[in-house]
Subunit: 358 residues, 3 copies
């Protein structure tokens, strides 16, 4: 993985070959996004309308009325489905047109594609299979921390003008914190670069653990927890094709043990759904759950606020990086350094999944 050719070659891929791993659950939305209005969102190159019917059911349809091509996302949600905003055709969650105002007969071809979706732990997952109409081969991922009373969470949906794998790279290599996020979750740049790092992989998962005992707590940590001068920090990153789970935090030295599964201290549980929009753009669904210190009740609001700021900083860097990749073109090779081990493994997994589907 010494070149940017993986990312670049995608753009040239033919229409029938997906540039993304298929037979996967991808994040389509957070539950909180689906209220009384339909949402237009392109996912893996498919223009989709996401909606919650009056009855509460979540549905994902091709975002196009079969009559005159207006996006169904310009229409209105009713109890039985979504009604087109141009001439009033009504579609059920399974994609069938079930009413054409002023016309008795509904032609058999009056229908649109529907996608398999499921809602779980406040996340709406969508299945993209390699065969049209095939059923999911496994359940959507669990993410119990959204429902764990120990935590409270906030979320955001960011659009990236950059290919999805650059976001994987960023999240799998947290050594950038000391250069990019000095004002929030950063800290001493050299301590980040010199952190003890352990990378393991299993199936399509990569796990990176980085420990930084005895380091100064960064601004967000100090704002949320009464640390002293030093803390023992950990970063546990799990990559799983369509999303990452990142558990970071710190304990007070001598009080808690940094790798005790039941350790106390200050925790940030990040969920990161990264769903390609196109070969060159992506949706980034993040949530951050944090525990509350008894003496600092406003912790979670502060953590969410600073998390937004942090992820804005990442977006600036990654979009600038991608713009530059386009500017310099494929011939501009990448020189790997010591911190790239996790990201390079994740790229190999994606490459293998794409290869096996050809």
């Amino acid at each position: 993985m010494n070149t940017i050719s993986d990312a670049m070659k995608m753009s040239a891929s033919v229409a029938n070959q997906s540039s993304f791993p298929l037979n996967q659950w991808y994040v389509a939305a957070f539950s909180g996004e689906l209220t009384d209005k339909p949402i237009a969102r392109k996912l893996l190159n498919q223009p989709v309308v996401l909606l919650r019917t009056g009855g509460g059911q979540v549905a994902a349809l091709e975002d196009r009325c079969c009559h005159r091509s207006l996006p169904l996302s310009c229409g209105t949600v009713e109890s039985g489905g979504v009604r087109c905003g141009y001439h009033g055709l009504l579609y059920a969650p399974n994609g069938s047109c079930i009413e054409i105002p002023g016309q008795e007969r509904i032609p058999a071809k009056a229908k649109v594609t529907s996608y398999v979706v499921t809602e779980k732990n406040h996340i709406v997952w969508i299945w993209f299979g390699s065969e049209e109409g095939s059923a999911p081969t496994h359940d959507a991922p669990d993410y119990p921390h959204h429902d764990d009373p120990k935590y409270k969470f906030g979320w955001g949906v960011y659009h990236y003008d950059a290919p999805y794998q650059l976001i994987h790279d960023n999240l799998l290599d947290l050594s950038h914190l000391g250069y990019v996020h000095l004002k929030t979750i950063g800290g001493n740049a050299r301590q980040h670069m010199n952190a003890e790092m352990k990378v393991t992989s299993e199936g399509n998962m990569v796990r990176v653990i980085r420990l930084m005992p005895g380091t100064p707590p960064p601004p967000t940590y100090k704002a949320a927890y009464p640390f002293g001068d030093k803390c023992d920090r950990w970063q546990e990153i799990e990559f799983d094709v369509s999303h990452l789970r990142i558990w970071t935090g710190a304990v007070e030295p001598g009080k808690d043990v940094i790798d005790d599964p039941d350790r106390g201290g200050f925790h940030m549980r990040g969920f990161h759904g990264i769903t390609p929009e196109t070969e060159t753009t992506a949706h980034y669904f993040w949530s951050m759950a944090s525990n509350k210190h008894p003496d600092m009740p406003e912790t979670i609001d502060t953590v969410i606020e600073q998390t937004k700021y942090t992820f804005d900083e990442d977006r600036v860097v990654i979009e600038a990086q991608y713009k530059n990749m386009r500017q310099f073109g494929e011939q501009a090779a990448w020189t790997d350094i010591h911190v790239d081990v996790g990201a390079v493994r994740a790229r190999r997994i994606i490459a293998k999944l794409l290869e096996s589907s050809r």
Copy 2:
């Protein structure tokens, strides 16, 4: 006409074959637009400068100085023509350069293309022939309602990021009023969809008549005329290749007869000039003339104001529709429904005109 391929194939058409019916008068401007400044407007892919000389003559020239290519529309209008804003070359309405400041001799090649234009009923029409320099084969259309003392009119010029035929579709099928224009000229959606409809055609014209007796007057009608709970509404639409005339209105039930040519009641006379800018964009020149109820002197201002609002709503829908057509590509077929008869006939006329010119 079950697919969007007509609109889409245009983009691929070779330069020498027009994607638009030729040997037609198209609207270039409303008279009120041509004051002391030249106007730049691309019409049927031709960049044109429109101007009224100090002497009052309307002219249309290729919008490019033959010296160094500055648009003549960046220059100034004089009594004898238009003067370039870079080095002062002066062009007559026939396209000849008639002055090069500081130089005696004017080369024979110092000239630009001029177009045939005529001004009639407050409309500036431009002729696009299939042969360069050929004279018009028929007179420009009449539109006497602009000069009828019974009416007052207002107008607007809208730019569309959508191909011209989607505007034809929209105007030939007024069943969308109940979904798109609820706040102005809409009304009960089902009554619109179930209106009695008669479609006839003759030569290159299509006429659609829709009657909706005994229906509630929509907001604009109530604002402009003292209707009661119900009125008898009519819609008469005439399509004529480059423009449509739409006569709509309502009479009070029992007082006037809905299809009496001299009927009273409330009238809206819409003129709709639809001139392609390029294969994928269009100019929409609309005017609305209305009669004044004796007790409601501000009628026409209200009607114009609400007409603007209505046509803004149409633009939002049609541009969203076209953006989606581009997104889904040619393979996305259209399923026709009962209200499409008029629009489908108009598309056949355009297709036949394009075919016969190949």
Copy 3:
């Protein structure tokens, strides 16, 4: 040079053949631009980061970290060079990576291209040779007026959405002043068009001298110098491939002689560095130096202010011209007139330089 084909063909040129004269010094920046932040600037299609190290040395590097492609211009300047803002790699002015935080060994390939730059008379010049790594064959140009106590100067850097040669054309033909710059340095249009003009050339230089004795002083001249009704104006323009020097001004009739090298009166010494950004865009580095009349101490500020206004007017015209050239395409020929002699010679020089490098 009757067509716009030179400018247009550039876009189609293959990557390995430069569209710009090489083995030339081009302006990269004014000295005053390089403070404590790096500058990103694309020059002759090369994305370059310009910087002044803490030690004061000016450097120009390929604007891309060899690790993950972030622009180095997103990083920070240190005494020893520039540090990447993503993972902290540090680059010396010669392009070598001299530090990878957290890693002992620096791979040999960890480096970026560096460009030859030199700083002289408040101008930063960059050398673009035809062979990679070749040394400059001549010294960077002198421009002593920036250091002449007789003058004070101000400067600006403008971006043009137009190819560089259109700016040459504009500056070599000052007859446009009477049409474009009426409010500042213009004057009577006809006197400009009829000015006595002498064009000479020598090597790669073109010199245009225009004299306009007994003409009314334009607004900027009157604002800066106590002229009466008439003045004797001169314009001396020197084109030198990558830049022009323009000496204009006026003397009081009967007091000074218009072509005496030591003449008094009001002087404007313009420096115009024109550096292609791409085939279709350019950077325009201008400075204006002026002498101060003893009774009018604020002269220079007024002159700079009005010069900015003047060059804004030029940009509007030239960008409109180029947009129109693109619109009409290559087939739209140019008709030369009497004022084009200097500009046509400069185009021949560029064409010859490009030809000889193929």
